[in-house]
Symmetry: C2
């Protein structure tokens, strides 16, 4: 069982999870080709981890092959849904049992395909898995936040080659989520409007950093991008959580995400990247002041001592240059995407 | 010239520095052996960058060989001491010219030695360079903070093999420094005492995470360590900035830093690491509520999507286990170090 400990100065929570050390050092133990033959995520090995949710062929039994996307427990969980999420002190320090959940979303049955080489429909199934698991996890009263993210490539933290995302449900509201909420609230108090609604308006008007848009989302390189080629996908509809999106919006998001990941892969030779969904805490997912968005972060440089000390990032590619490099040609119909997919599964 | 841009939601400043892209992508372009023959930091190439400060043989002229430590401008500066540090707005956003400074401290004249294979005296010369450059940089009224840090190894962000540290002077107070200051202030308001003084007291009493101590400093693995084998060096004397330390304290710090880096290199096979000095902003370096400290962060795992979204770190090595692994045997005189070096240069 892991433990949460609070940094007494910065108030950041840390998960101390010695059990996860068994899965090996990520930076040194790169998987070999032979590991692929033992891939725990490939069809035929469903018995290893019983599924929590799956998009599968109608009528096929749970934990059989014939699935498109599959959510399973993480074999080395950072947090587990066991026990009470109560805080206790240890001398001057604060701690908490490692209560929560840690799940995997296997994004494709194909060992060598990924969100770019799959069709946009496949991305829509993955997003559906996120939503389904979020709705289930938020029912647990111990859970305060559900983090949904993807690590693609070893330099972005992936340890298994078969493409997957992760979901971590925490018994506390993460500090960065709280900071984002506070930032949005303060902007609203100051300007009486939503900061992300303002960003969409100004960016569409200026047309210096927008890369792609459709009826429901805008894909852009943010004005103060922390990382080279960092991208945001901002929903046009003001709502607090990814979990609130409609089926139509899910398809629209899948199209825009597929296109942006494809452009990154083309321009930057399949770079390592993370993406994260920045949503309100799950008990506040109707918060009228919060506007959720998605961040895609290519991992082309190393987070070094300056960033660790200051949290000031040095970005060597201007967001305007990133837009120029990633932009889809004007004549392409892809630049303004339709929000319906040819085949909704 | 670079530009500072402020994230409109989180209020984090980012340095947009396209000029630094010329130095190549850190993660892909590992230096080759042949690059070493062109090392810009080796003796004999002093003319490439005129020195800002040097610990050199008495009587030897500036920019000649016969130095022990040398501070020079960074060839690809993120910030430069040119122009006004005034803010301006761009539509809804805030920006600022990239005013500041970016310097290199070459830590040894020997291309293949480092802070571990050099003697503790050499570490003391490096610390003296930091102090000398800090005192010079803080005279510039445009400078609000001086960041001092080291990247060792490619996975920690080093791009040149010859061992060196960096100094970045910024025209704004970095958010993390501000947060640390606020955390210390709030603890003081709540408990009427300094949080780092309390940490030293409780850790020395509990003796579960202390690795080494001398008359002036305590080296420990912090209770809520974010990273496996993360270490802190906390000064016993309550003062707001590294820059305030005495000659005796500098020697004591050099000894303890040398010992901790040596133990990490022995136990973890010369791991990549960063170290940072967490001091008060330079115009507040007499702040009675701030207690400076040093952090050493081995880079054994990748900062991945979960950390980027939440700022919650997952640490797979308990601080108590890190202490057990790194501890010096009880009978060793090194566990309680003297604060004088045999030869003060």
């Amino acid at each position: 069982m892991s433990e949460l400990r609070k940094d007494i100065v910065t108030r950041e929570w840390v998960i101390i999870a010695p059990g996860r050390a068994e899965r090996g050092q990520r930076s040194s133990a790169l998987p070999t080709e032979s590991d692929d033959f033992l891939c725990p995520f490939c069809p035929g090995r469903e018995a290893l981890e019983p599924e929590l949710w799956a998009w599968r062929k109608p009528g096929s039994p749970a934990n059989s092959p014939q699935w498109q996307v599959r959510a399973i427990p993480n074999k080395f969980p950072a947090l587990e849904p066991i026990g009470n999420a109560s805080r206790h002190d240890y001398h001057i320090y604060d701690c908490m049992a490692g209560v929560g959940a840690h799940e995997i979303v296997v994004e494709t049955p194909h060992h060598n395909r990924n969100l770019v080489t799959e069709k946009p429909e496949q991305v829509a199934y993955v997003l559906e898995a996120y939503q389904a698991r979020y709705q289930e996890l938020r029912k647990d009263p111990r859970i305060e936040h559900v983090s949904i993210f993807k690590n693609h490539g070893w330099a972005a933290g992936a340890t298994i080659r078969h493409e997957h995302s992760q979901i971590v449900a925490t018994p506390i509201i993460p500090q960065l989520v709280w900071n984002n909420k506070q930032g949005q609230k303060q902007y609203h108090e100051y300007r009486d409007s939503c900061v992300y609604c303002e960003i969409i308006n100004i960016e569409l008007t200026l047309d210096e950093r927008v890369i792609v848009k459709n009826d429901d989302f805008v894909g852009l390189s943010p004005f103060a991008a922390h990382y080279p080629f960092e991208l945001w996908i901002v929903p046009r509809r003001h709502t607090a959580s990814f979990a609130n999106i409609t089926t139509g919006e899910r398809l629209a998001l899948a199209q825009i995400l597929h296109l942006l990941l494809t452009r990154l892969a083309e321009e930057l030779d399949d770079p390592p990247y993370n993406y994260t969904l920045v949503s309100a805490p799950c008990k506040q997912d109707q918060d009228p002041l919060f506007h959720w968005h998605m961040e895609i972060i290519p991992r082309l440089s190393v987070i070094a001592g300056f960033e660790l000390e200051s949290n000031i990032f040095i970005n060597t590619v201007t967001p305007e240059e990133a837009r120029r490099r990633l932009q889809v040609p004007v004549e392409s119909p892809a630049q303004h995407l339709r929000t319906t997919l040819p085949d909704d599964g």
